[in-house]
Symmetry: C2
Subunit: 222 residues, 2 copies
């Protein structure tokens, strides 16, 4: 097993063995470039980008070099062009529709979370097994539907991404439902080691582990 880690990494192969660490940093670079473009900066070198945003210049160059010769030697990178390139590379030039399972505190918060409803992402529905919630909606107006409605939502339009925000005990079953429905990318918030399916890209965010890790530091940092 290659680096399973607590926040486990997904299955499925990238096109050219671009590491997950690299792809995560691409998101960071994209954000930095957006800030620079807004500020009117046209060109930037890896070293000044590194300096400005507390990154490492060699790493920036190596990460970007995975996708061709994006810079100009002696000059640096064109901010606008590079931003557009990263946007395409990350697949953010098209709309990613998401469904969330679990209309609890976390699920509803994520439904309305700006980062989940902007720049290429949109939450289309929240599913919950509790009949008392059906027909209701999040504060932002995302409808809460019965789990059984998933096929209908899938028929009505492409869904690219599933989010699991149900209690640990229900997570595997929701995962399987999503996988069976043909969803190829899943973000899991339940604190369980999911038994993953091949062909389904899965990432887990374990909020509790972050707390416990901080607690460990407090307990052991002298």
């Amino acid at each position: 097993m290659p680096r399973p880690r607590a926040a486990e990494r997904g299955s499925g192969k990238e096109r050219d063995a671009v590491s997950e660490f690299t792809t995560e940093r691409l998101s960071v670079y994209l954000r930095c470039l957006t800030i620079l473009e807004t500020a009117g900066v046209k060109t930037i070198s890896s070293s000044r980008l590194a300096e400005r945003f507390h990154l490492n210049s060699a790493q920036i160059r190596k990460d970007l070099a995975c996708f061709g010769e994006l810079g100009v030697r002696g000059v640096g990178y064109q901010v606008g062009a590079l931003r557009r390139h990263l946007t395409t590379t990350l697949g953010l030039d098209r709309l990613r529709r998401m469904v969330i399972f679990g209309a609890g505190n976390l699920g509803l918060a994520l439904s309305d979370y700006p980062g989940f409803n902007s720049d290429g992402f949109v939450v289309t529905a929240v599913f919950d097994s509790d009949p008392a919630k059906h027909g209701l909606a999040s504060r932002g107006g995302i409808p809460i539907l019965p789990n059984a409605e998933l096929p209908r939502v899938l028929d009505a339009g492409e869904v690219d991404l599933g989010v699991i925000a149900v209690p640990a005990a229900a997570a595997q079953s929701v995962y399987d439902t999503l996988a069976d429905a043909g969803i190829r990318a899943i973000l899991n918030f339940a604190p369980v080691q999911l038994h993953q399916r091949p062909g389904v890209r899965t990432r887990s965010v374990d909020l509790r582990i972050n707390l416990e890790s901080l607690s460990f530091s407090l307990a052991n940092n002298e």
Copy 2:
């Protein structure tokens, strides 16, 4: 810089150079042991633990060996004793009080999130800069206070952990406020590279990067 990563790692030294990857896995092991103990299992070997929860047996042994000879050769580990040991090691045998900055969707959801209000953790207050929210409370009853009330809350009782759930633009300022107030552990949800203080253990969870990383996989997987 040693592995800053998108979800950046904090500052401050562990007692015996126990890696952050190891401490994250300790949380996982603790969960597994709790399940086993509830199921009445008294003893377990690293290989059966690995099998049962999709882990690696050598890694389990190596991780646990950081904290002394916890197992018995030829037998395995005592479930109950090991669970208690990990609980203490992770500092979960005492109560960790937390304050959350940002009473938006995310901040309020986290305030009531079971994982943030059980087994050693409790959210004592939510702070927000919007006067319209002061005096209100989360659904679960955590009061929303003005930022200026932080010193009073600190005087009233120990606060071990701060959570940043404000928009990106306000995150650094909240971070500095928490650091100035003497809080030594911070969990940040804002999508920014924080300028960190020495002596303050910081972890960042970047929800947006998880989405973008999944989007990348969808765009580049075959």
